[in-house]
Symmetry: C2
Subunit: 402 residues, 2 copies
């Protein structure tokens, strides 16, 4: 009865997860709707803003539509990018327009044309430099856009400044509406999400390891091929690199958020993510190894059952502790305890490597079992690396001691 129950709870947790995910989407949609209504009503109702004209109303609406992102960090980042890009591009465009005006005649078009080409090409090139692309891509685009608009408009300097004031104030208004709706109504912090997703990866890998142990040592007649849902877990960890990186990027724009202070070590999260991905790859190898047709039937396996299962549950326990230490922001158990457990694990596995245990089964089977034990040893080593990384994180981020 137990597996059925486990399956039901698995499905219900999946639905809960799905609906939680969906709930956040619905909330985000409603927030966008509110922000749009706010910025629209400002123009629909207040005669003051009617003076600015449709042209400027447009910029406030455009700012809201373009800047409003799912997480607070992404919204802040885009908003600041937009502000800086507008100011820089407007200033340079203004200078170009003045220069063109001084030259006058067809020279004007030449000056403007050349500067449009040079600044456009240069800014586009910078956009493709990885480190700039990561954080300032949008700002560079807005720079190109504003520069071009201002340079081509060919307005006099005094009128440009007036227009710039109006436009910046409308953009500022749009930005304010965005930030308020985004941060005051159920804010979604990228930093929180990175924090939780990193911790949940530990849980995923822990349950994967335990799942493979169970699958490997299950008695044959019970074995009704539950094809690995945990496999998907490991794969999702492996392919999390790009989403982790963008979350870390957004998180850097959220410096004043709750429990994460200024200069919180997000880079360490990326490093931990890399180690977790390595570990997930090894766990997948382990799973493939145990699904191999060359694996012996269940009897020879029982000879290595106890120590392997002990190691598996110890690994799962350690991973769970590490994940919990991150989620609670508490330093994990003193290194010595962890280290001694890991060492005793290694010793147990080394015992398994003796020919007396593995020599018995036939050719291919021994190979498969040896591989299983070897991969387990690799996993132990990676968990050791992981424990070290989490300890470093605890020091960098000033986790509490418990």
């Amino acid at each position: 009865k137990k597996p059925q129950f486990a399956f039901v709870s698995f499905v219900s947790s999946l639905i809960a997860k799905q609906s939680k995910h969906d709930m956040r989407r619905v909330i985000h949609s409603i927030k966008v709707g509110i922000a749009l209504v706010l910025v629209s009503l400002l123009y629909l109702l207040d005669p003051l803003y009617k003076q600015f004209g449709d042209d400027n109303a447009m910029w406030a609406i455009m700012t809201v539509v373009v800047i409003f992102e799912f997480s607070a960090g992404a919204t802040l980042g885009k908003g600041l990018n937009r502000g800086i890009g507008t100011v820089l591009g407007g200033g340079l465009g203004c200078l170009t327009a003045i220069l063109g005006d001084e030259v006058g005649g067809t020279g004007n078009a030449t000056v403007v044309g050349i500067s449009v080409f040079v600044f456009g090409a240069a800014a586009t090139y910078t956009r493709m430099v990885p480190s700039i692309k990561r954080r300032y891509d949008y700002g560079a685009m807005i720079f190109i856009l504003t520069f071009n608009l201002v340079a081509v408009s060919g307005l006099r300097a005094d009128k440009v400044i007036e227009l710039a004031q109006q436009r910046l104030s409308t953009i500022g208004m749009g930005f304010t509406v965005c930030i308020f709706t985004n941060l005051l109504i159920c804010p979604m912090w990228a930093s929180d999400e990175l924090h939780h997703s990193t911790a949940s990866k530990f849980q995923k890998l822990a349950s994967s390891i335990q799942g493979s142990m169970e699958e490997y040592f299950r008695v044959v007649n019970e074995k009704e091929k539950q094809p690995g849902a945990n496999f998907a877990d490991c794969k999702s960890v492996i392919h999390s690199k790009s989403s982790d990186e963008s979350l870390a990027n957004f998180a850097r724009w959220e410096p004043w958020h709750g429990k994460f202070g200024f200069s919180y070590p997000w880079d360490k999260y990326l490093q931990i993510g890399d180690v977790l991905r390595d570990l997930a790859a090894t766990i997948i190898s382990l799973k493939e190894c145990l699904q191999s047709p060359r694996q012996p039937s269940s009897n020879p396996r029982q000879s290595i059952k106890e120590p392997c299962e002990a190691v598996g549950s110890l690994l799962a326990w350690i991973l769970g502790e590490l994940g919990e230490s991150i989620i609670k922001m508490e330093k994990c158990r003193p290194k010595s305890l962890m280290a001694s457990k890991l060492q005793s694990m290694r010793a147990e596995l080394s015992l398994l490597a003796s020919p007396s245990k593995l020599g018995a089964p036939e050719n291919g089977e021994g190979l498969a079992m040896a591989s299983f034990v070897f991969l387990l040893m690799e996993i132990v080593e990676k968990v050791e690396v992981l424990a070290k990384e989490v300890e470093e994180l605890g020091e960098l981020a000033d986790f509490q001691t418990r």
Copy 2:
């Protein structure tokens, strides 16, 4: 002398690759510059367009800045998204404005406010549905933007239509300038890039396999720890999922491009990419296995040297053939030949599994060697899967028979 030479050629190929990569960036920047100058000059020089006013000039420039992407497919996709989003949003916004006008008074603001909320929230929700996000994210954003601008502007229907004509014509002009510069000056096709990057992954994995064989069986005194440059190759393959997916997305917008006809099976490329990533993960396990401190010193290894090396170079040869078959778009060697080779490989590896070969070394060492052989067998199996996938691709895409 040979390894030195190989290293030199490796570095020079790296520089060539880097500069080729950089060259493409420079070309792209220049193309953007040209497009910007073209669209600006149109307004600077031609009095006809001066009539439209700055307001409309803006839309052409904005279109160029926002739409111009690196690859042809991305540019086409964004341009079409922008066009469709503008038309749909403008039409619906116009209807809303008319409805609001009929209601009149404060009812106007209510009608506009409610519809802005409903359409804004609904479109934002659709933007987060994965399948729509992948291809129509930008279009949905433009829809929200245009809808809001038109609905809020509160213009009369006849004036809206006039404005819409002007604005669509300027957007169309910007789009035309984009497409011409993007497709006529050194076009960069996402389809080409996906095609070549997929084929090059085969080469990378082939050289990784051969590299690990060499490293494993190198005689000890030669072993001066060249830390694996190939490791990075495998990792780059593993982390290529998101870039592959976006390339495939863009490639679907390039239906009439050269050798790839309509409905070219880009999905198959993604499937092949998945198998390649699996294979890369196993190769990384193999490399980790051979770098393990538990590996025996070089003498016991020599006992399995010949068959393993034979298998390694055969695998590399097969991977090379498969990659070449993709790059040349020719069907690969008759399945029978490939299959028989793979079978003979398996037989060879099974021989290795006999205790007479592996039983000799001490505990941990035997385990490590067994693991090495086992992983090699796994790799053979994955290459078989890969060969099948490439054969299917050849049939789906009508590769030529050679």
